[in-house]
């Protein structure tokens, strides 16, 4: 049992050492989840609840000629049928409207067309079959390179390529072209002694969160709306509802439930508007729960890609030139992660001359969404094999080669931005010193590969309030959804500032009517960005309590200080109050104290998190099956607020990366049908597939955060496929140019089949 904070001796005149940050307390809500008591999206229940189901397109590309819902409306037990015609005229962006409920075209198999609310999910499902939709089927385009060709079928007749060179005159499936140029790439390649060029393709991959999307909508008699939904961000859902329903934000309350995985996929809203439209029309609350096949067919996976990389180095081991072309599938509507792919591809290296071209391309597949370090994994899969090949051809150890060329403080990225202090070199040095790097492989058909990745992190906007209770505990509210235990890390930073034990801080996720705007829990931002809001709120609490102590003691507030143990005044050393003692006197000294933190963390943020992974794999040369034997992931996390949770993030990212590398993918037929819309055929890794992953935490504090925190959640997936590919090269002598690296593909590369 730890000593209650209030009874500790003051540590005045000594530097404050960390007492909460760096410890490993149980995560908020963990026990509820283990016991099945946590309320997830599908668990929400209300009196008179109806159940909604969505009619989806069987075609990948078709014009909708007519939608006749009359038979479905008359089916016993059906209370409402909605189509795009039920969206308020002119509300929302056209692409946003069309992806919610299709207008005149369907653009992927699974595209929502209509929805039904009925007494039971089964009745709703039966009635879907009574909706008559007439289509003019059009040829689909499913591959990013085919979609970029001038004669490819067009998804949107009005879409014209935008770039900083201007807007193209004629329609195209290429929504955007971006470019970064640094130095003189042609001159750089002319100086190179060794040049390597390769092209890579990766397939769409679904995030594979276990909990399907679920949303429950309730309209109140005053015309306001409450929506319970499993989401990574309640406020963006509120904005989406406001936009498409043409309803003021203040009249919408979005209550985020517990979330059963998201990994970026729940940063988008799919059934919230549909549930609200059905509920309004039926006059009763409606819950819509997606099925697994709907999730896999119709919610955003990460883009499939084509990536070409060319790099040149001198004999002395210096990379002198690089260029990359990244073509990313956006899905049916513009907005792939090609921007962050282009931002990440050469991010680990100091390259004097480089050019990156990125293309955002629409295809007849679901609109893509974020997936853990969106866009980075395919880019790093490509570049790290080329870097590995350069090192091999120069006869330099692959880790030393990366150390020789790694980015450092002041290095300018290809986009021109200079790096602040980031532990690129420290991570590489820690990897080199790790016993794994020099351990024997221990058998035939085994290989070891490394890969270096980076994720730039995001900070975003966050709000947090802290209310002081009379017993000295505090209640913390934040708008950040508790993804991956982030709530505990946020509360730990507040506890550290307040000088409290974590058990004295009760943190909860608030709905959109109870806290200020807070961005999605995504982009490795939450522990950093909302942590900053919690620190600001805690400092606000301390400032107010110092004023209360000053009032009690009749001394100027400037003389009152708090050393995270007791409040004291320089006027009279005998005056001392613990946090708990002062909290008990708040009502008699001016009323409640509530601290407020509302921040835009991007005001501060500059640096991200690099990671170096070491993978040992074994290949069965007869079947092509790849087994990952040993895995070490070294990462700069700035400061591990909760080391156990950071290690969990690293292990989880590696597990997802192994699935992406070896077998996961959304595979489509030529007609655009998803061929593997179940988790039987879309294999996710299980404990049987994942070796012991050893996380190695490197702490190079981010100087802009009071405790040095960096985001840690996304980097762990970035290098995995590249590390495994480089390990397979050591066994097969073949570079792996496609993801996933299935047994069939590996055997094909080996020339066996």
């Amino acid at each position: 049992m730890s000593t209650p904070r209030d009874e500790r001796k003051p540590v005045t005149d000594e530097p404050v050492s960390l007492r909460v940050i760096g410890t490993r307390p149980p995560l908020y809500g963990a026990v509820d989840k283990v016991l099945g008591r946590a309320v997830f999206g599908a668990d929400v229940s209300l009196p008179e609840l109806l159940h909604g189901k969505v009619l989806r397109s069987p075609h990948a590309h078709a014009r909708i000629l007519s939608v006749d819902t009359r038979r479905a409306e008359g089916y016993p037990g059906v209370h409402a049928v909605v189509t795009a015609r039920d969206l308020p005229e002119g509300a929302g962006e056209q692409f946003e409207r069309d992806n919610t409920l299709a207008g005149d075209k369907v653009l992927y198999v699974g595209h929502p067309i209509a929805a039904i609310a009925a007494e039971s999910p089964h009745i709703a499902e039966e009635a879907l079959a009574l909706i008559d939709v007439q289509y003019e089927v059009l040829p689909p385009v499913l591959d990013v390179r085919r979609a970029m060709q001038a004669d490819a079928p067009l998804l949107h007749e009005t879409l014209r390529t935008w770039s900083l060179a201007g807007q193209a005159a004629s329609p195209s499936n290429v929504a955007e072209h971006l470019q970064h140029v640094k130095g003189d790439p042609e001159q750089g390649f002319a100086e190179a002694d060794v040049i390597v060029e390769r092209s890579f393709t990766t397939t769409m991959v679904h995030q594979g969160y276990i909990e399907p999307h679920a949303s429950t909508a309730l309209w109140h008699p005053d015309g306001s709306l409450t929506v319970w939904t499993c989401t990574q961000g309640a406020f963006p859902v509120r904005e989406h509802l406001s936009s498409l329903l043409d309803l003021p934000m203040a009249r919408i309350r979005v209550v985020p439930t517990e979330i059963g995985g998201g990994f970026g996929g729940k940063a988008s809203s799919y059934v919230d508007v549909v549930a609200a439209l059905l509920a309004r029309k039926a006059g009763r609350p409606v819950k819509v729960v997606m099925g697994r096949d709907e999730v896999l067919k119709a919610t955003g996976p990460t883009p499939g890609t084509f990536i070409r990389v060319r790099m040149g180095a001198r004999r002395d081991g210096r990379i002198v030139a690089a260029e990359a072309e990244l073509c990313y599938e956006a899905g049916a509507y513009p907005g792939s992660s090609v921007g962050s792919g282009a931002d990440t591809i050469f991010a680990c290296y100091d390259i004097p001359n480089a050019r990156v071209d990125g293309y955002d391309v629409v295809v007849n597949k679901p609109k893509t969404s974020s997936y853990r370090a969106p866009g980075a994994t395919p880019a790093v899969f490509a570049v790290e094999q080329v870097v590995d090949e350069l090192a091999e051809r120069l006869g330099i150890d692959p880790l030393d080669f990366r150390l020789l060329n790694c980015a450092r403080e002041g290095t300018r990225r290809v986009s021109g931005q200079p790096y602040p202090r980031v532990g690129f070199a420290e991570v590489l040095q820690a990897a080199k010193a790790h016993p794994h790097y020099s351990a024997p492989l221990g058998g035939p058909n085994r290989g070891r590969g490394i890969a270096f990745g980076y994720w730039g992190n995001w900070a975003g906007q966050s709000c947090c309030t802290i209310s002081v209770n009379a017993d000295g505990t505090v209640s913390l509210l934040t708008g950040s959804v508790d993804v991956s235990g982030a709530l505990t890390g946020i509360a730990m930073q507040a506890a550290e500032e307040l000088g409290l034990e974590l058990r004295q801080v009760q943190a909860r996720v608030a709905d959109t009517a109870s806290i200020g705007y807070t961005d999605v829990s995504a982009g490795s931002r939450t522990t950093f960005g909302t942590g900053l809001a919690a620190i600001e709120a805690a400092r606000d609490v301390i400032a107010q309590m110092r004023a209360r102590a000053a009032r009690l003691w009749g001394v100027p507030v400037e003389t009152v200080s708090y050393d995270r143990v007791v409040f004291t005044t320089s006027v009279d050393p005998t005056k001392r109050l613990s946090f708990r003692e002062l909290a008990a006197q708040l009502s008699a000294t001016g009323g409640p104290v509530m601290g407020r933190g509302n921040v835009d963390g991007d005001v501060l943020r500059r640096g991200g998190a690099p990671g170096l992974h070491i993978a040992d794999v074994e290949l069965d040369p007869e079947t092509g099956k790849v087994t990952v034997l040993r895995y070490t992931a070294v990462q700069d996390v700035g400061r591990a607020v909760h080391p156990g949770n950071v290690e969990g993030q690293i292990k989880g990212g590696v597990a997802q990366g192994i699935g992406w590398a070896l077998y996961e993918g959304c595979f489509y037929g030529e007609d655009g049908q998803l061929l593997n819309p179940t988790l039987l055929d879309n294999k996710l890794p299980t404990a049987m597939d994942i070796p012991v992953v050893e996380p190695v935490i490197v702490e190079v504090p981010d100087p802009v955060h009071p405790y040095g925190v960096r985001g840690a959640g996304e980097t762990p997936i970035v290098p995995v496929a590249g590390a495994i590919a480089n390990a397979l090269y050591r066994i097969t002598g073949r570079r792996m140019e496609r993801l996933p690296m299935t047994p069939a593909y590996v055997l094909e590369r080996m020339g066996v089949i």
Binding site: W162, S163, L164, A165, G166, Q167, E176, H177, L178, Q179, H180, V181, Q207, F263, G264, G265, A267, S337, G339, S340, A342, D343, R355, G358, S369, S370, Y371, R372, A373, P374, G375, S415, G416, Q417, P418, Y419, P420, W455, G456, N457, W458, A522, G523, S524, R525, D600, D602, V603, L604, R605, R606, E714
Partner: protein, 87 residues
């Protein structure tokens, strides 16, 4: 003077120059000066008067949350980069 990094696809407007100097106390004022010197810059970056949604402003290596309203110092660097988010 503020140094503005000209995106490669816009260098046709600056005679191929990758970096140009311009006065201003905010990004918007710098953009006004740029527009006067290199007509067409504003329309590329801010079609319809607002920063294109695919872009973010970076001032002195940090994304500028205030966008065009972001204050700049006399020796600041301004860049326009693709806006990215995360998962």
């Amino acid at each position: 003077m503020v140094v503005v990094w000209i995106p490669s696809l816009m260098r046709d407007l600056t005679g191929g120059r990758a970096r140009v100097s311009a006065p201003g106390r905010t990004v918007a004022e710098v953009l006004d000066a740029l527009e006067a010197a290199y007509p067409g810059v504003r329309e590329r970056l801010c079609p319809g008067g607002r920063l294109h949604p695919s872009l973010a402003v970076v001032v002195d290596g940090r994304r500028a949350p205030l966008g065009l309203l972001e204050p700049v110092g006399e020796e600041s660097e301004v860049q326009f980069v693709p806006a990215v988010s995360g998962g």
